[in-house]
């Protein structure tokens, strides 16, 4: 499994870089907390409305934190002009892409580890297994899609504008299904979460397969 070891090497490299510089995760964690503070002013929060509003706040925050995290994953490579050096090795572009997406997803998970407890603490909503699993499952699919388009816009003009424009519409299924699961988990909405979990897994598989098929067209010339 040479591709697997390459993907892991790429992910390890990105995580090591982040650990040394600590430029993304601390900033994103602050952003996440700030988003909750802003939401507090924007919505009428009380014990009754919290379960209805908190899921929305969660996904809004997650989506924008994700855009930043995935955008950074390839913006850093572009600024250092290092992506090409990686591609000009016998390593498969799809393996390189998988490593980048894995690292970016893990960094977002770290932010989620701040976001979810903060949400539970500030808005007094329960943090159940369903909520956490829905968020984590959505993160996988969002990461592969986000990184694919981040890799694309890193090579395009007006990239700051284009990334949300391309990514957000395709993230909507994750937000719809994950959002429903979180609403149920937080005591609003109705219905079970088991179908949501399996749907999220289906979507993850679909997008992981699709992105690995097209990654080389986006990365390589």
């Amino acid at each position: 499994m040479r591709s697997l070891s390459i993907a892991l090497a790429v992910a390890r490299k990105d995580l090591a870089s982040e650990w040394r510089t600590r430029e993304l995760v601390p900033a994103l964690a602050q952003f996440v907390v700030l988003a909750l503070v802003i939401a507090n002013f924007g919505f009428q929060f009380d014990s009754r409305t919290a379960p209805a509003i908190a899921p929305g706040v969660l996904w809004m925050t997650l989506v924008f934190a994700g855009l930043v995290a995935f955008g950074r994953a390839f913006a850093a490579e572009r600024e250092q002009a290092s992506l090409e050096a990686m591609l000009l090795t016998p390593a498969a572009p799809a393996a390189i892409f998988a490593g980048k997406a894995l690292a970016a997803a893990l960094l977002l998970v770290v932010c989620e580890a701040v976001l979810l407890p903060a949400l539970a603490l500030f808005f007094n909503v329960p943090l159940s297994f369903e909520v956490v699993s829905a968020v984590l499952l959505a993160t996988i699919g969002m990461a592969v899609l986000g990184c694919l388009f981040a890799a694309m816009v890193a090579r395009v003009r007006a990239r700051e504008l284009l990334l949300p424009l391309l990514t957000l519409p395709l993230w909507i299924p994750f937000i719809v299904i994950g959002g429903q699961a979180v609403q149920v988990g937080m005591g609003a909405g109705s219905g079970g979460t088991s179908s949501a979990t399996s749907l999220l897994i289906d979507l993850d598989i679909l997008f992981v397969v699709l992105t690995s098929l097209v990654a080389r067209f986006v990365l390589d010339d």
Partner: protein, 214 residues
Amino acid sequence: MSAVVASALSQRFGIEVALDAVDLTVDTGEHLAVLGENGAGKTTLLRIIATAARPTSGSIAIFGLDASSERRRLRARIGYVAHTPGLYLALSAAENLEFFCALQGVDRGRVAEVLDLVGLGDVAGRPAGKLSRGAQQRLAIGRAVLHDPALLVLDEPDASLDSGGADLLARVMRDRTAVIATHDHALANRLCPRTMELRHGRVAGVPTRLRIVQ
């Protein structure tokens, strides 16, 4: 045998023509310098030879293999130093090379060897971002020869090299086929028996074919 055989290479970006019908042959072991002003098409040509870009039209074979369909195989035999060093600035010099060992499938023992070759043995543990421009360029050259490539493609490697840079270039080019882009005619004549000039994406004049020193 020829290491690089290219015919009628053209590269277009929309209505912009970067390279127009360039023919090129580089023999195995030969050192060729590509001269020309900024925007003459040097980088475009070198990127095509390094398999970083594919031409809009024309064909190129490297070591007898088609450069677009056999890219992955060829990349194991080509070393490329781009315009910018393209290093991971937060990682140390050694870590940068170790990462590329993993990508190239080369043993990590090669790292120390290469660091000594490019004269960075003392600063192996320093983050690449903390190295001088010259040292960064040396590291990029070291990365390009990590996997002992048979063909070396160097895009203005002298741009930020310190004193002794020309010696380093001569050392890494020895026993390899090399194509090097530069502004510096003196350096080109020193390193390469043959030079070729690009002007507006075309070959200017007849390549001066001096004797190939092996």
